[in-house]
């Protein structure tokens, strides 16, 4: 409100354009300042720290970190943890994003075709989205629980008692799948909602015209629906890529990165290095590689999307 008074003065003296310029700068400034101080600076600072020997004791004593000749990076590559973590991250991202898109699209298409109670379903299906991440982890841990869990019971019923100890999160081969199921559960609702809003932009009369011309459902879907939804799809998929690249609390709560490193993504590895081993420099090196990888993935993704656009 102070600015209101401060603005009155210059408005009389300055011309309109200059005034607008100052006003708009003043409006954007607080946001810019907070984003810079709490996001941009820390990110740049963490990239710098990735080249230093910087541990928790440096924070306590206030001693600056020492340049250590890329040791954080060489140690990571030689330690044999980095490459598996990259593999796990990519597998998780690709798997969850694909499954999420297919299921979300299926649900959106069904809700957009006149099913009964579509509005009601659209509203209740959003419920998993508002469940806090930690709680969704707990919900699925309870279902996956090795002794009393529901999944173990179902598996033992389906196999006729042959498999009596199915514990999805305790087996290195299936743990990532278990986490992915929980991630899907939380993310499908938003994907569906956004795709549904895209579907509503597809012109009705065009679909009708195609029906009259005798186009099949599949033909209509790929020739009319998909092209009209291109921008929404591109946004939904890139949001999903970013979200799953960053996924941390879910994996951390459900498996902590185990068993045997089978769910250790870059997020888990960097957190472990930085806040469990208290080696902030090494953690920063992981996040730097992680950011580079994410930039590459998003870049490739945009390239593919743009190329398809031109065809």
């Amino acid at each position: 409100m102070q600015t209101a008074a401060a603005k009155k003065e210059p408005r009389l003296k300055l011309n309109k354009k200059r005034g607008d310029q100052l006003f708009s700068a003043a409006l954007v400034l607080p946001t810019l300042l907070i984003t810079t101080v709490f996001i941009l600076v820390p990110v740049i600072d963490s990239v710098i720290k990735s080249f230093l020997d910087f541990r928790v004791r440096n924070i306590i004593s206030g001693e600056p970190g020492q340049w250590n000749n890329f040791e954080n990076y060489t140690r990571l590559f030689q330690g044999g943890k980095l490459l598996p973590a990259i593999g796990v991250t990519l597998a998780f991202v690709v798997g969850v994003v694909l499954a999420q898109f297919v299921l979300g699209m299926a649900l959106a298409l069904i809700l957009n075709s006149n099913v009964k109670c579509a509005r009601f379903i659209r509203s209740i299906m959003m419920m998993p989205w508002v469940v806090p991440t930690i709680i969704s982890a707990l919900i699925w841990m309870w279902i996956f629980q090795p002794q009393y869990g529901l999944l173990k019971y179902f598996v033992s019923v389906i196999t006729g008692g042959a498999v009596n100890d199915f514990a999805i999160l305790n087996n290195p081969d299936t743990a990532l799948l278990g986490v992915a199921i929980a991630a899907l559960w939380k993310q499908i609702p938003l994907t569906t909602l956004l795709l549904l809003s895209g579907l509503q932009n597809v012109p009705e009369d065009m679909l009708e015209a195609a029906t009259i011309d005798g186009a099949s459902r599949t033909k209509k879907f790929f020739a009319i629906v998909i092209p009209y939804m291109k921008s929404v799809i591109s946004i939904v998929v890139s949001m999903a890529i970013i979200e799953n690249f960053k996924q941390f609390p879910l994996i951390w709560t459900m498996t902590g990165g185990g068993p045997n490193g089978s769910t250790t993504t870059l997020a888990i590895l960097s957190y472990r290095e930085a806040f469990v081993s208290n080696n902030l420099g090494s953690g920063a090196a992981v996040t730097t590689i992680w950011m580079l990888l994410m930039i590459v993935v998003i870049f490739v993704y945009n390239r593919i999307f743009r190329k398809e656009d031109m065809d």
């Binding site: 946001t31 907070i34 806090p132 930690i134 960097s270």
Partner: protein
């Protein structure tokens, strides 16, 4: 042709039921487990409707494990404050970006969009150090600032897209009447974007309510912890979980969000679409 239509609609409803079962059954399961005793919850053949429903674990949560409510209260404080600050800043910046087109707009947008991409852990590594230097570590104020920064990109985009929908003629009339720019913003334009404001506030509240990583690194004092961090630290021991209690916590922790969402659903849906598609 008729037969084919029928078969298609059967397939449609089957797929719909499977997906809905996947999305909704886990919530039902948690809800009924919270009304079971541990004895019943641990039965080898699970009961799908509680045999002897009881509110024992709710009573236990209120009486024995009431540290939970300290975390719960802190979560309300932090989420509420973050939502408020975020919404005010998003109104200002959103209006600035939507109404005035200067050459820096592109840079501001780029900064906001890219800041959404950076992993939180990467920020935490130096934020821990930075907050320490600013004496904001272990305080709600520091946590609120960090979270506001995380919420701003999306909410600014959201507000900007709502302001885009307000015709300029409305403002020009007010300027002719001698209103200042600030008056135009607060008295004339902002009331027209109330749905956007609500959507931004609820989005920020929901997302902050969900925060774990910020709280777990920036807060060490148990009495200042927020819900996710507190629950993870206190109730998730390595071996023995009290599952009735955990399920009760899940219900109590989710309830405010469900109520908020269903109450403001109309605005939320519009806002989510506006914020995402603009960004």
């Amino acid at each position: 042709m008729k037969k084919q239509e029928f078969a298609l609609s059967v397939v449609k409803y089957v797929i719909l039921s499977i997906i809905l079962l996947f999305l909704l059954f886990p919530l039902y399961w948690v809800l009924i487990t919270s009304f079971k005793t541990n004895m019943e919850a641990y039965r080898s053949v699970p009961t799908f409707i509680p045999d002897a429903p009881t509110i024992e674990s709710y009573i236990k949560l209120f009486t024995e494990n009431n540290e939970f409510f300290v975390y719960y209260k802190n979560n309300f404080i932090v989420s509420g404050a973050t939502a408020l600050v975020t919404t005010v800043l998003a109104i200002l910046a959103g209006y600035g970006l939507s109404r005035f087109h200067f050459k820096w707009n592109g840079w501001v947008m780029a900064l906001l969009l890219s800041s959404q991409m950076f992993p939180v852990v990467s920020r935490m590594i130096s934020l821990y150090d930075l907050m320490n230097k600013m004496h904001l570590i272990n305080t709600h104020v520091g946590l609120i600032f960090a979270l506001t920064a995380a919420m701003l990109p999306f909410t600014v985009m959201l507000m900007a897209s709502f302001f885009d929908g307000v015709p300029r003629a409305v403002e020009e009339a007010a300027y002719v009447d001698g209103a200042t720019r600030m008056q135009v913003l607060w008295r004339i334009v902002t009331p027209l974007v109330k749905p956007g404001m609500l959507a931004a506030a609820i989005y920020a509240f929901l997302m902050t309510w969900d925060d774990y990583l910020h709280a777990v690194t920036l807060i060490q004092d148990d009495s200042l912890r927020t819900m996710s961090a507190g629950v993870a630290m206190r109730y998730l021991g390595e071996l023995s979980y009290d599952w009735s209690l955990i399920n009760t916590i899940s219900i109590v922790g989710t309830l405010p969000m469900l109520i908020l969402f269903f109450f403001f659903q109309k605005y939320m849906v519009k806002g989510l679409v506006a914020g995402a598609v603009k960004g």
